[in-house]
């Protein structure tokens, strides 16, 4: 009962994401049924939150799970259970932890325990070999928990891969590409074959090629035979658009993420602003951390999340007035009938009031930061870069930040933003920044800088300035008056991410051809394919007009960000589909949800 209620928010869109959740959950329960009797689960901590989106704690309890522990160094309290289940990603470090735990338990306990290891999302040769070398493979029964996509919301799904961009671009480890290709397969198995496929960037091409190969290898096995309710798939490589990641997100959800960090829809705030007058023990609430789950099941948050933060205050006070008048109605109600009606609405109204209080508190936290001079200056500096002002000089604001030894992530974000919007930095400027950074932040910064150069975030200027061209043709920036003209609520920021403009273009046109020459300046190849029902018959570059009639109807476009996407991009895509003339619905699939800080940190050296 409770289960179904929890996942309502997933089935709202035209693509029913709850099917995905249901499948993954069944998979887990089937695996748990293999181990009859009481069990203890030991988690890879990274997975705890995402898997929570698939199966709640209470559900596990119903299936004889006695307790759950995180998998980390140190000994765990011993509980007598029949089965001990490790659920982990195939990483060598984690395998070591599993081994250590098994060995320490073997020495202590005499009762027979069966060990299981569930790999998420799939097993790895290397890890099994490692376990064998350490002599524990024989005692383990190994299973796969094929959960590679985690449902976040009715239009957002994520693979939750840690450090995927770094692994692919710095360490040359293509596992994440493989995972991405497998994820598309999972989607096609569940929802059918997606007829049109587009893509841009090196990684997009690689994922697509891999997908074709996987399809060929498994020709015999049954696959989703029907055409999908998804009309188009757009694969985007993160490397084509760094600007959108480096700039600070200014939407409500984006800012929450920038300042407090959202992990798998969950965010933690300090407690002191959540004290309410009718709290039994206010001092306890104030000290505790407040965990909040953010998704569209909360009506108010669904309305607020995509707004620019400056609009949130007004929205909140409007909402407050509505709730107040609703509650005040009870004084006017006379007849029994009316009162009955009122009472039936009461739980909903009280819930609304509660969520209003919560979001007012969150907004206050954010406002503390956004009101500061430092924040204003940073935003101003970013806006200048995005509009192409002073990209070729050493920026005095950045100089000051370095001199004050501001957080390195912040400084690097700004420098990289200057670099990507200027299509490279003048060699002299670049050298100056590098020298400065090493002198202030130490030698390890040098290695970080090398990393950034390796993935193209930092580079010296060569050739013409592509960004300026892109900005004009794709209309990436908005002037003040344009925002006035269009409805204010539609645009959440003056900058519209490049990835979003590309998605918009694809959804409106039947291919890249109109902007192909502009896109040539972005790294990586263009991809344009047609998938028929038998994927092996895929023909290259053959855009026929066979089902042009269906193009008139509302369409669903799956946008797959390989290398991560930001909340700002999601919000912008949402607002495009909410526009009146639009008949497109975007569904977002990403390898991970990122923001500038997490992205930068994943590329830094001592990470």
């Amino acid at each position: 009962m409770k289960e179904t209620k929890m996942s309502n928010h997933l089935s709202g869109g035209r693509l029913n994401v709850s099917i995905l959740q249901e499948t993954m959950r069944k998979e887990l329960l089937n695996l748990l049924h293999i181990c009859e009797g009481s069990k203890l689960i030991i988690w890879d901590e990274w997975l705890a939150n995402p898997v929570g989106l698939v199966a709640q704690y209470s559900l596990l309890m119903e299936h004889e799970v006695a307790d759950i522990f995180p998998l980390k160094p140190g000994t765990l309290p011993t509980i007598s259970v029949k089965h001990i289940i490790f659920i982990a990603r195939p990483k060598l470090v984690l395998m070591d932890l599993v081994t250590d735990y098994i060995l320490s338990l073997r020495n202590k306990q005499s009762t027979s325990v069966e060990f299981h290891l569930f790999f998420v999302p799939r097993r790895s040769e290397l890890c099994e070999k490692h376990l064998k070398n350490r002599g524990v493979l024989g005692t383990l029964s190994i299973e796969e928990f094929r959960c590679d996509i985690f449902p976040f919301d009715s239009d957002v799904m994520s693979l939750e891969l840690q450090n995927d961009f770094r692994e692919n671009y710095l360490e040359g480890d293509p596992t994440c590409l493989y995972n991405a290709a497998q994820a598309i397969r999972t989607i096609q198995q569940l929802y059918g074959i997606i007829p049109r496929v587009y893509g841009k960037g090196e990684a997009a091409k690689q994922v697509w090629d891999l997908l074709c190969r996987l399809n060929k290898e498994e020709q015999g096995s049954p696959r989703g035979a029907s055409t999908s309710c998804i009309d188009q798939l757009l694969l985007l490589d993160r490397a084509i658009d760094f600007t959108s990641v480096m700039a600070t997100q200014l939407t409500y959800e984006g800012l929450i993420d920038e300042l407090y960090g959202i992990r798998s829809s969950t965010v933690t705030f300090p407690g002191h602003k959540f004290v309410s007058p009718d709290d039994a023990r206010p001092e306890v609430t104030a000290r505790e951390k407040k965990r909040i789950i953010l998704n569209s099941s909360e009506e108010l948050f669904a309305e607020l999340r995509d707004c620019n933060f400056t609009a949130v205050g007004a929205q909140l006070s409007k909402k407050a007035r509505i709730i107040k008048t609703q509650l005040d109605e009870r004084h006017n109600d006379k007849s029994v009938q009316e009162i009955k009606q009122f009472v039936s609405r009461l739980p909903q109204m009280l819930a609304n009031k509660q969520s209003l209080a919560t979001h007012t508190a969150i907004a206050e936290y954010i406002k503390e930061t956004t009101d500061s001079f430092e924040f204003h200056d940073t935003i101003q500096c970013e806006e200048d870069f995005i509009n192409g002002i002073d990209n070729d000089k050493v920026c005095p604001f950045i100089e000051d930040l370095i001199a004050q030894k501001a957080p390195l992530t912040k400084v690097l974000r700004l420098i990289c933003l200057q670099c990507v919007t200027g299509s490279g930095l003048k060699p002299k400027v670049l050298e100056y920044y590098k020298r400065e950074l090493v002198q202030v932040y130490g030698l390890s910064t040098w290695l970080t800088l090398c990393n950034l150069e390796k993935c193209g975030l930092l580079k010296a200027q060569t050739g013409p300035r592509h960004y300026t061209v892109l900005r004009k043709t794709l209309h990436l920036t908005m002037e003040e008056f344009e925002i006035e003209a269009k409805e204010k609520s539609y645009l959440s920021s003056k900058y519209i991410p490049l990835t979003v403009r590309l998605s918009e273009h694809i959804s409106k046109n039947k291919g890249w051809s109109a902007i192909a020459d502009v896109l040539g300046s972005l790294p990586g190849p263009l991809l344009e394919e047609l998938q028929s029902l038998q994927p092996r018959m895929t023909r290259r570059n053959s855009i026929s007009s066979e089902n042009s009639s269906s193009m008139e109807n509302a369409r669903v476009v799956l946008v797959f960000f390989i290398g991560g996407c930001t909340y700002h991009e999601i919000s912008a895509l949402r607002s495009i589909s909410q526009q009146e003339e639009s008949n497109v619905e975007f569904v977002i699939l990403t390898t991970k949800l990122i923001n500038g800080n997490t992205f930068m940190e994943s590329l830094m050296e001592d990470y």
Binding site: A403, K434, E436, V438, Q439, L443
Partner: protein, 114 residues
């Protein structure tokens, strides 16, 4: 990777050795900035170990910025000045540092005299 070795080591002698091999690699690769960064780091490391002997506090592993800051905090303005000119620290950053250090140590009179 020689640079990484240098960062991980704590003994000044071996740090210098790693930096020298890193410098040679950069020289072969014609990366001038890399060469000068390594050379600077090596020089700094050497000075830091001698500072460490004089003051009995740990200097090695700090960045230039933090080294100068530490000297300023100890009131060694002359020494700090010397490092500044030696490594061509930009004026802007140096004076920021001077002011911040003074503010941190509540030397408001000095700050006023500035």
């Amino acid at each position: 990777t020689h640079v990484r070795d240098a960062i991980e080591q704590s003994n000044p002698g071996s740090v210098e050795a790693s930096l020298i091999s890193a410098r040679e690699c950069y020289r072969k690769g014609r990366n001038d900035l890399g060469v000068s960064i390594c050379e600077e780091a090596r020089k700094l490391c050497k000075q830091q170990s001698s500072l460490q002997e004089t003051y009995g506090e740990s200097f090695v592993g700090l960045s230039l910025h933090d080294t100068v800051k530490k000297l300023l905090e100890q009131g060694e303005i002359k020494l700090a000045d010397k490092l500044r000119s030696e490594y061509r620290m930009p004026d802007k950053r140096y004076w920021w540092l001077r002011i911040l250090v003074m503010a941190d140590s509540y030397k408001w009179d000095d700050l006023e005299k500035f």
